[in-house]
Amino acid sequence: MAEKKGSILAVQLLGGLCMVVLWWLSGYGLLDGEPQDTLWRFLGRFHPVVLHLPIGMLVLLLVLEFMGLRRPDSKVSELIPLVLGVTIAVTLLAVATGTMLAYGEGADEPLVQDHMRNGIWLAMATVMLGVLRTLPSRGTYYLVLLAAGALMVITSHQGGSITHGRDYLTEYAPEPLRRLLGLEVEEEVTAARVEDLVVFEHLVQPIMEQNCVSCHNPDKLKGELNLETFSGHLAGGELGPAVVPFDVDASELLFRITLPEDDEEFMPPDEKTPLNEEEISLLAWWIAQGASADQTVGALGPMPAQVDDYVTSVFKQMITPEERARLEDAQRELYATLASIRAEYGILIQPVEAGADEFTIETHAVRNAFDDGMLKLLEPHARSFVAADLSGTRLTDGGVSSLANFVQLRSLNLSRTELVGSTLGELAALPDLESLNLYGTKIDGAAVEQLGQLTQLKQLFLTQTPLEDAEALEQLRQALPNCDVQTTAQISPLTEADKTAKSYESS
């Protein structure tokens, strides 16, 4: 009997000592954020191996105690001291390895600190359970046991969050449950047009969430940087702002993701998938255009082709399956209609690339038959065409009013047609028209007033027309300051007649 009293006292003393050590550990501030290449780091990595033991043991303990309470004469109660002892041992082991892991890896973010503190408290609670179970009164014991159970749930969830990210459990939770938990509910993007996408919210943010936020969030705050919010981008971290509006070169974020992959500073680090070219080009474009929080794709400046492709692909992912099916049906129908026009009239109609909704027109094969009337056949689908080569056809000034409906046209070749230019001003209705070719037509000085209205043009070919010799040409150049007006004099700089002569000298 004395022996048993002695061992109880030993347990109580040992427990007290453990409590003191743990209490000291929880307040010591061991984590300094510096990785250690020591044995601690090696041993620390066994934390995930042992951490499930205290969870299981504690659950088992709760079950046994519950069964013992319901049927006090049951034999299961005899197991309880053993289970409790093992629970204490494995909890201490988990705390020890966990501490080594955090210290060794140099983790010091708030979530790790909380997890560690709660782990230590959990260990203290189990040790306390060991001591309390030696006392005759069990009231406090049961209370602490329940508290330990609750603490175990919280602590293990925190641990899981460190490994898998905070929203790992709820990421695919059904929408009603997410609402119940007060979590953010993904809104379906209702933007019907690509132009209505908000650049930051719909394009930049998803890239960040995919690649950056698992470390740069308010909990982990790697490098003091939070990329979860817009303001976090501008505020930046240890090295200053991550994003500097209008200045791609000064933006640390872009610098880090475009370093060589084997660079120590390269982001994202450690074998994580680097951002691809399109994603980088989108971020660069967004920054160059001022890194706005709420501007839409349509409101920002022109997109390089690569960015355009990326935005379109994101948009296609965002629309609902029904909408996508509808668009695909519409596309198939458009292809079939255009194919029937092509088959019937011999006009070459081609998608600009595989799967595109934009088409080009070429009329070489039917150039002698193609006139204003034939152009009208294409009018119902005018919006589908981005380039038209109508060179050498019988098109006249009367056809220009039809062309004014082809509002997506970027390039229009009317060279060697029967135009004289009296109606060309109507092409001012084509906002994207960049290039207009009037080579070899009969347009003359009288057309200057009409052409002068086409301020959207970047390139205008007037070579071999009466207009290029007209005095009014200078007037036209002034009316179109942003347009490269090409004339014979400009294209053919070879005025030294002797160049030919020289090249024939040797014969």
Binding site: L348, A354, G355, G392, Y439, I491, S492
Partner: protein
């Protein structure tokens, strides 16, 4: 469509039962072959709807609608035209250092020489244009367009003799029998104008060394591709295409009636044997019929004004010259011929280079200037790709006797110069560098395979994805070795 699948679809029930084992065999095999039915082709299946060529649609938006390839057969001397090596003057008649030649294999024409004396170019070089590209006095007109083209000084190939080398650059393989670049373009992209051939070849007269290498039709052949994709070689004398005119007493209507009859018989033959070449033959007859009216219009230069002839130089009035062919090529590009290739021979200056090379250069110099300038003034330069060059380069060391005024140069595959322009090609750049002997490439090498991949790229074609199943291989223009798009010359 997959050719085997195509063939299986053609099988009649009777034939299927007659050849049961074979029928099942091919059906099973076709399901094992990698399918080409992507989302894009299901939207635009090859040979139907809007599709224009076997690709259905280009892989990406093309920069080039058309191409004109100026082929200098025989290998022009880069050392006397574009690749300026001033230090060679000091090394006149000294031996080429072994460290530069580095044991490279030579042709049997010079491998027996006791020494390899350096022959500096006797031609004056100057920098031209904003790009400051060096061009020799042999090319005064080309020199005035250097700001419109990209000069690649670092081309290379493995072949050291003409026939393998020209077969290699034209078809992607030194062994004859593969489809040529133009045939691939015709097969993949189809025609811009069904009344004209998609791929036209023009052979030119020349005034340099008259003993020149023969050109074989396989250089513009279709290989195993359906034969309507081979280049149509136009003649410069008489009928541009032989036997194109109706015989005396045969009217167009009678010809039409006859063709319809022959077509019917051919269709029967096709149903019996299922050989796709029968369809190729039918389409060739039809093409010939349409060409009866379109080709004479194409080759009748009487509607060209004088200033156009002035642009291309006086030779352009003489049928068969390179200048005349350049003008023809421009006419064809304008009327919707997808790809034309002009061959100019006589560039093989093994000896008497100072006698022959100036004539060769004079043949092409003014015409190259004229072509580029004409395309520019018509607004066609933005979507027409122009390529100039030969099958390999020439050596810095002299073949035969070296004097102050006379020398010859042997074949040199390790570096040579080509240029390209138009359709998405950077203007006014000089790409790649060679060592001071113009012997080895020191920066940005461009294999002829890379050039071919780049040409396809400008037409909106991924060179990896334009292929043809033949004898168990997926044939590609660029072959099985890695090819790189030469991004440095693209804008």
């Amino acid at each position: 469509m997959d050719p085997i699948e195509h063939y299986v679809n053609l099988e009649t029930r009777r034939k299927f039962l007659g050849k049961l084992a074979m029928g099942f065999g091919t059906a099973a095999m076709s399901s094992l072959l990698p399918g080409s039915a992507t989302a894009a082709t299901s939207l635009n299946p090859p040979g139907q709807g809007l599709s224009n060529g076997m690709l259905g649609a280009t892989h990406f938006a093309p920069k080039a609608k058309r191409g004109i390839y100026l082929f200098m057969s025989g290998a022009p001397s880069q050392l006397d035209m574009f690749d300026y090596k001033p230090r060679m003057t000091d090394l006149f008649d000294t031996d080429l250092p072994e460290s530069i030649r580095n044991g490279q294999r030579l042709t049997t024409m010079t491998s027996g020489q006791s020494r390899f004396p350096i022959a500096p170019s006797i031609y004056d070089f100057q920098q031209h244009g904003k790009s400051g590209a060096w061009v020799s006095e042999l090319l005064p007109n080309t020199a005035s367009i250097v700001d419109d083209i990209a000069i690649i000084k670092s081309m290379w190939t493995e072949a050291i003799n003409h026939d393998p080398a020209i077969t290699y650059i034209q078809t992607g393989n030194q062994i004859p029998g593969r489809p040529s670049l133009g045939a691939w373009l015709s097969y993949g992209l189809g025609s811009l104008n069904d009344n004209l051939p998609t791929f036209v070849v023009l052979n030119s007269t020349w005034t340099g060394r008259q003993e020149a290498q023969a050109l074989f039709t396989r250089l513009w052949g279709a290989g195993p591709l359906p034969s309507q994709h081979q280049g149509v070689a136009l003649r410069s004398d008489g009928d541009p295409v032989l036997y194109l005119s109706n015989p005396h007493g045969v009217s167009g209507d009678i010809r039409r009636l006859m063709l319809d009859g022959v077509s019917e018989i051919n269709e029967d033959i096709f149903h019996e044997f299922g050989d796709p070449e029968t369809h190729a033959r039918i389409s060739q007859y039809e093409m010939a019929f349409r060409m009866q009216s379109s080709v004479p219009e194409l080759t009748d230069l009487s509607d060209e004004p004088d200033y156009i002839f002035d642009l291309y130089g006086p030779d352009s009035r003489v049928p068969g010259t390179f200048a005349y062919n350049c003008l023809m090529s421009r006419r064809m590009a304008e009327k919707g011929v997808r790809f034309s290739q002009i061959f100019h021979r006589g560039w093989d200056q093994h000896g008497a280079l100072p006698k022959d090379l100036p004539n060769q250069c004079r043949d092409v110099d003014r015409a190259c200037y004229g072509l580029i300038t004409d395309l520019k003034q018509r607004g066609m330069y933005d979507d027409t790709l122009v390529v100039w060059g030969g099958e390999f380069g020439r050596t810095v060391y002299c073949q035969g006797e070296l004097t102050q005024t006379n020398y010859g140069r042997d074949h040199h595959p390790r570096c040579y110069t080509m240029w390209m322009g138009g359709a998405g090609v950077k203007r006014g750049v000089v790409y790649g560098e060679t060592d001071e002997f113009s012997y080895n490439i020191t920066k940005d090498p461009v294999h002829i395979r890379d050039l071919n991949a780049t040409i396809l790229n400008q037409f909106g074609v991924d060179h990896q994805q334009l292929n043809f199943q033949h004898q168990g291989l997926d044939l590609k223009l660029t072959g099985v070795e890695e090819a790189h798009i030469v991004k440095g010359v693209l804008s």
